[in-house]
């Protein structure tokens, strides 16, 4: 098909599909889960299952609560007490709330102790800390990213570098924002996270859970060894992920391909799932929570089940300044930042990873 005009182009997009086995020594599934820090929604689809299995249910209900802290100044994170008791003790995630990565100053504290500040040009210049121009710049830099490694020795309280960062964030430009915060640590009793922001308006939230049962859903046949599908025998990974999207969005897949309204229908070959359980959790979810869910789904197949596979879909925050690890994330017209596992009975898995229009390729 020839292009008549430039209007036939569409923004760049990337989707990575991987297949492997959880028992494979080189499998990086754990790294991918642990490195995707800011997750806002997770959904689990289990075919041939009427109610959420009890194991999963208890994990879903035990997902850590999170806090929304209003107007929290960033320098507080650097204060010695907070730094020692919270940041360095490990696994504290914080993300600025209601800030848009393509418009506003956006901040994130990664559980590794890295503080990422994605700033507009004015703020960056006033702050005077060293950073990199964002990869989202158009023609001239208007956005910069500063990464401060709080776990680094050169930034220990008392050092010159520490003093400089502290001065910039406290005296020079006192950056503040609403923050979502959550922490994964069993020994929370020792120093609860909430005790650190009693000076600020904050609220504690529990992730919201919704479960629904789908019935008589046509579902594509897939084979774990064939990402690209086999003619007549199994569907390819792209057909499957579109179907998965359709089911999660409540789209009718029982269509005749010839109707006026929509030509979409479940790809062939297909089977009909009598029942399927779709459970969705929304909140500020830590990578540890996701990993627990993934492990539990694997164990679901310890005993023989009718389901050939289950899926675990994780949506990241589209306005997070990072996608995986410290890779910069942005928002052009949609801030794709998500991954999805298809977990097969025999510990084989497929993993889909998607990032936005100008993002780096997923790991």
């Amino acid at each position: 098909l020839t292009m008549l005009t430039d209007l036939e182009k569409c923004p760049r997009h990337l989707l990575v599909c991987e297949k492997s086995n959880f028992l494979n020594e080189k499998s990086r599934h754990d790294v991918h889960v642990a490195g995707h820090y800011f997750n806002y929604k997770v959904s689990v689809l289990i075919p041939e299952c009427g109610t959420l299995p009890s194991g999963l249910k208890s994990i879903v209900n035990s997902i850590a609560k999170y806090y929304l802290v209003k107007n929290f100044p960033i320098y507080k994170i650097l204060e010695e007490k907070f730094l020692e008791k919270q940041v360095k003790a490990g696994s504290l995630c914080a993300l600025s709330y209601k800030t848009r990565i393509d418009q506003d100053n956006t901040f994130a504290l990664l559980p590794t102790g890295k503080l990422v500040l994605s700033l507009d040009k004015d703020t960056y210049e006033d702050l005077g800390l060293e950073g990199q121009p964002s990869q989202y710049n158009h023609k001239v830099p208007v956005r910069y990213v500063i990464t401060v490694d709080l776990a680094d020795k050169s930034l220990a309280p008392g050092t010159n570098k520490y003093k400089r960062v502290m001065w910039a964030l406290k005296e020079k430009v006192q950056l503040r924002s609403d923050f979502l915060m959550a922490k994964h640590k069993p020994d929370e009793e020792e120093c609860p996270l909430a005790s650190c922001f009693t000076d600020y308006q904050y609220k504690e939230y529990k992730p919201s859970v919704s479960t629904q049962t789908l019935s008589d859903v046509p579902c594509p046949v897939i084979h774990s060894k064939h990402l690209k599908g086999q003619a007549e025998e199994s569907c390819d990974s792209q057909e499957f992920v579109e179907w998965l999207g359709a089911v999660t969005a409540g789209i009718e897949c029982n269509n005749e391909a010839s109707t006026f309204l929509s030509t979409y229908c479940c790809p062939d070959p297909r089977i009909i799932m009598g029942k399927a359980c779709l459970c969705t959790v929304t909140g500020f979810l830590l990578p540890e929570n996701i990993y627990q869910l993934l492990e539990e789904i694997r164990h679901y197949f310890d005993e023989p089940k009718f389901a050939p596979w289950s899926t675990l879909t994780v949506h990241g925050f589209s306005d997070s300044p990072v996608s995986w690890s410290t890779a910069e994330h942005g928002f052009h017209k949609g801030g794709e930042n998500m991954y999805s596992f298809v977990i097969f009975r025999n510990d084989d898995y497929w993993l889909y990873m998607a990032t936005g229009a100008h993002d780096a390729c997923p790991p």
């Binding site: 020839t2 292009m3 008549l4 005009t5 430039d6």
Partner: protein, 168 residues
């Protein structure tokens, strides 16, 4: 000096009744083309037509038609040519078809193409002539088809625009 990149479409208007070619004028052809582009490409196409789209030359004897448009949109104009099924001239509706013979980036390449095309046409037409006068008439008609003047004119236009583009 940077100037706007143009594309030139060398076309041929074919009439079911060839003598009625004589009735054609630039305006009627332009209107028919613009309507065809609007039908094929909607308001967007019509908008694009407002942009340096012009009938540069029309030979009412042979039906050779020479169009200019922006390089970025020539495919869009080109694709609409089959939508021209008739021309309105002096109150008459004349069934016709427009074929594109050549697409060029400069008038010169179109001119070269036209010379070759005309030579072939002469060879094809001359054996069909029944009298010497007819031969002369065909020759004159075909030879009258030249873009040379147009080229000079365009160069002048470019010079005029040179001042405009000098800023780059």
């Amino acid at each position: 000096m940077v100037r706007f990149k143009s594309r030139y479409l060398l076309c041929e208007v074919r009439m079911s009744d060839p003598p009625s070619l004589q009735l054609l004028d630039d305006r009627s052809v332009f209107t028919a083309l613009r309507n065809a582009v609007s039908r094929a490409h909607g308001d967007y196409g019509a908008g694009v037509c407002g942009l340096s789209f012009a009938v540069k030359y029309l030979n009412a004897r042979t039906g050779v038609l020479f169009l200019r448009c922006r390089k970025s949109h020539y495919r869009l104009i080109w694709s609409a040519l089959p939508f021209v099924s008739s021309l309105e001239s002096r109150g008459q509706r004349l069934p016709c078809a427009v074929d594109c013979l050549h697409v060029g980036g400069t008038i010169r390449t179109c001119q070269k193409f036209l010379i070759r095309y005309n030579a072939r046409q002469i060879q094809r037409l001359l054996p069909q002539c029944r009298s010497e006068e007819e031969c002369v008439e065909v020759r004159r008609a075909v030879m009258s088809c030249s873009l040379k003047e147009l080229e000079e004119e365009e160069e002048e236009e470019d010079e005029e625009r040179g001042e405009v583009s000098a800023g780059q």
